[in-house]
């Protein structure tokens, strides 16, 4: 009998929200957004956004743009509260496409849920997490590949899963909507 019966290494390992949230999806999307939109275009709009209630200083706005990859978790948490509004402005003027705007609105809904301190009803909390478009897409991809309950390295047949996922998620499909 195994010593760790009933213990699943993949499922019972706790998440590390610092690295999968602020230093994960938010960092990558922020760098991608800056590369797509252009740093010079983002800077004046970000500097003029109202930052009432958030401890961001106007002098530091350049750092968030020109050192986008080297910030700490605290800075990315500020960006999570600020950038959805920036994207709303850019989207209104047609500077970003619908897909990018949808991703950022999802992130804006995801982060308050990640850092929520109390949940009266945990299953309701899970339902709210699953209703976020980006997360729904990720969960769907993991379910199709068969790696939802396993370690990523133990996917039954990674090449079959890859072709299946590629056919289902063609670049123009709108699964996330």
């Amino acid at each position: 009998m195994s010593l760790f019966q009933g213990f699943s290494l993949a499922q019972d390992t706790s998440e590390d929200i610092l690295h999968i949230g602020p230093l994960g999806i938010l960092k990558y999307k922020w760098i991608d957004t800056l590369n797509i939109v252009g740093r010079a275009q983002v800077l004046p709009i970000l500097a003029r956004l109202s930052t009432r209630g958030i401890s961001i200083r106007k002098t530091e706005v350049g750092l968030y743009i020109y050192r986008a990859g080297g910030l700490v978790g605290k800075d990315y948490k500020l960006l999570a509260q600020l950038v959805p509004f920036l994207i709303a402005i850019l989207h209104h003027h047609g500077l970003v496409d619908d897909e990018l705007a949808r991703v950022w609105y999802s992130i804006g809904r995801l982060f308050p849920l990640l850092y929520v301190q109390r949940a009266g009803n945990l299953s309701e909390y899970q339902v709210r997490l699953e209703s976020i478009p980006v997360l729904r897409r990720y969960i769907l991809i993991l379910s199709i590949s068969g790696s939802r309950n396993f370690d990523p390295r133990s996917i039954p047949c990674s090449s079959c899963a890859s072709s299946k996922i590629r056919s289902m998620f063609s670049p123009k499909s709108s699964i996330t909507s």
Binding site: I17, D32, K74, L114, Q117, L122
Partner: protein, 132 residues
């Protein structure tokens, strides 16, 4: 200007992959903010600074020795007890404790007893059951 993410990124990149597990883990392990490690992660900066200021010859063992010495000093100066080789349990004398209380150790170690400034997000964890 297409922003469509390659779906295979989600399998290849472990950070995206773990994000897909977050709803299931909330049911298994509780809210993610209860297992947040951001505060301890800031120790990275201290370790990095120590390595940068060293002479780059075997920096890891010096780092461990330095942290160990600091922990021992704070343990002894705050009135901790330890067992000597002959089995006697001893603690620091009144002079050492008085020096620790005078703030000299804090000054030497670079630590502070001041209250911390409030963080952007909540710094405490809380849990309420379904009935609340």
């Amino acid at each position: 200007m297409c922003f469509e993410q390659d779906p295979l990124d989600v399998l290849a990149k472990i950070k995206y992959h773990k994000l897909g597990h977050i709803d299931g883990d909330a049911g298994r392990l509780g809210l993610p903010s209860n297992i947040d490690n951001e505060t301890t992660e800031s120790m990275n900066g201290v370790a990095r600074q120590r390595i940068q200021k060293s002479n780059k010859k075997d920096p890891e063992s010096k780092l461990v020795a330095g942290f160990g010495g600091a922990a021992a000093l704070s343990f002894v100066s705050s009135g901790g007890f330890w067992r000597q080789l002959d089995g006697k349990i001893v603690s620091a004398g009144p002079g050492v404790k008085a020096m620790a209380r005078s703030g000299m150790v804090d000054k030497l170690m670079g630590t502070t007893n001041k209250e911390r400034s409030p963080r952007t997000f909540f710094s405490h964890s809380a849990w309420v059951s379904d009935s609340d």
